[in-house]
């Protein structure tokens, strides 16, 4: 089987408008959670979130193309442009046929849906803009990325709630490894910080009203964010032949389903996903130098994830740094594991592990070295990134330092 490497990365997320800005914010332990600014925010019970601030769509897109681009698609396109620029790839006709895109999103064009339901239900309008459907469809981002770069190979969208981007990247990994494509753009994006998007999450009563404190004894729930990241996954030989800079190698991917509860996390499902990813990578658990946790900051997730890590890693669970970057960028739902993979890339490329911020006190039920509040400089050779979705669908990616 072919080896798969990452040759480009791009992002637009609450911590930064590109990868260097995001790394810098992660290294400083910045928290991007703040007051929400969406329409009708006064009618929300949850008034905090991690928004992308200072983003001006018209600086990135022609006015007449914006009517087709929901915010989640814009985030994917901005990220993909950065990733493609970094990769140095030139997609000619031949490579275009061997290149594709797989992106993750949970809500797709949620803001478009919200705006137009408001128009027809609340405002009584009988007419909506002609492009509502091409804006809201979950595959809009993947399609626009394929169109912008001429990616004529496999293209589709994966939607597995909070694991969407990891499932997408795992599929892209398989696609390149198995020979279905030489280059895949992959990652995910989400933009549901609109009234309806937040109101729906409120209903579950798992949202924090102050901030996101994963693994901290006084944790109070999850905080939603928006954003995403896109990576270039490339066949190692293809990348070498063109002398590309390699950021990291993708070495393992594991998936599992809890087949249990639609929202309550399970220990066994994540255990099987982590073990499958490590087995795929042919790495023993104690070879993992950093775990980017799912770490939502809910009572249920954090405890279960800690138990699952112990089951997989044994004594190494007490030694390996485990952080949740959701404490900084919020929970970007379907795009979150793409931004979290940036935390892994930073650890591998710059030797800095991102922290779990807002951490007040250890929870004896969790333990773990959660890299509290401050980033840590240390050499990292192998990282594992967890995503455990509502619906019990788990996806774990393992990266290794560039060959």
């Amino acid at each position: 089987m072919r080896r798969v490497v990452i040759t480009g990365a791009g992002t637009l997320n609450p911590l930064g408008a590109d990868v260097p800005a995001t790394f810098s914010a992660m290294q400083q332990g910045k928290c991007a959670i703040g007051p929400l600014t969406c329409r009708d925010v006064e009618r929300l019970n949850i008034k905090i979130g991690a928004e992308i601030r200072d983003y001006k769509p018209e600086q990135h897109f022609a006015r007449n193309s914006l009517s087709l681009l929901d915010r989640f698609t814009q985030i994917a396109l901005v990220s993909a442009r950065q990733a493609m620029a970094q990769s140095g790839l030139v997609i000619d006709e031949a490579l275009g046929l061997r290149a594709g895109v797989i992106l993750g999103t949970a809500g797709g064009g949620n803001t478009t849906v919200d705006d137009n339901y408001r128009a027809v239900y609340a405002e009584g309008k009988d007419r909506v803009h002609p492009f509502v459907v091409p804006r809201l469809m979950h595959n809009a981002a993947a399609s626009h990325v394929s169109m912008e770069f001429g990616l004529k190979g496999p293209g589709y969208t994966v939607s597995t709630a909070c694991a969407s981007a990891n499932h997408a990247m795992g599929q892209a990994f398989h696609m390149v490894r198995g020979g279905g494509a030489d280059v895949m753009l992959t990652g995910g994006s989400e933009a549901m910080l609109c009234f309806g998007g937040i109101k729906a999450w409120e209903g579950l009563r798992v949202m924090s009203r102050d901030t996101c404190r994963p693994f901290s004894r006084d944790r109070s729930g999850m905080v939603q964010g928006e954003g995403g990241a896109v990576f270039v996954f490339e066949d190692y030989d293809h990348a070498r032949a063109r002398d590309a800079e390699i950021l990291a190698e993708v070495v393992g991917f594991g998936m599992s389903s809890d087949a249990g509860d639609i929202v309550m996390p399970d220990r066994d499902g994540p255990v099987r996903a982590m073990r499958a990813a490590l087995m795929d990578a042919a790495l023993a658990p104690d070879r993992v130098d950093y775990v980017n946790a799912h770490g939502t900051g809910t009572a249920a997730n954090d405890r279960t994830e800690a138990e699952a890590l112990r089951a997989v890693m044994g004594a190494h669970a007490d030694a390996v740094p485990v952080s949740s970057t959701k404490s900084m960028h919020g929970h970007l739902i379907g795009g979150t594991s793409a931004v979290e993979l940036l935390g892994c890339l930073m650890a591998l490329c710059e030797g800095v592990i991102p922290p779990t911020v807002n951490f007040n006190e250890p929870d004896p039920e969790i333990g773990l070295d959660v890299v509290p509040n401050s980033a840590r400089e240390v050499r990292v050779d192998v990282t594992m990134s967890n995503a455990f979705a509502f619906g019990g669908l788990n996806a774990v990616l393992v990266l290794r330092r560039a060959p």
Binding site: N64, R127, H129
Partner: protein
């Protein structure tokens, strides 16, 4: 009375031209009644957006179906033809 209709129709022509110019990303002054939408670079999606803009601007419903290019109900062969159709629809609505 006749003067009112004249002013009304001038307004319609100006507004329709603005909507089309916005879509084509050109100046309204670059558009004549003889201009054809395809020559202005407006594709089928752009046409649908123009129709939507016209409906919103005048509070009318345009009988346009993208599946029937002959458009028996609404002549889109030129900017002038579209303006004439909109004038009829606005007049019918006022009546």
């Amino acid at each position: 009375m006749g003067l009112d209709v004249m002013q009304e129709n001038d307004f319609i022509a100006a507004r329709v031209t603005e909507i089309i110019a916005e879509q084509a990303m050109i100046e309204p002054s670059d558009i004549t009644h003889d201009s054809r939408l395809t020559d202005l670079g407006i594709d089928s999606l752009g046409l649908v957006e123009c129709i939507f803009g016209i409906e919103e601007a005048f509070g009318i419903s345009v009988p346009f179906n993208a599946n029937t290019p002959e458009q028996p109900g609404f002549d889109i062969s030129s900017v002038g033809a579209i303006i004439a159709e909109v004038e009829k629809l606005v007049a019918r609505q006022a009546a």
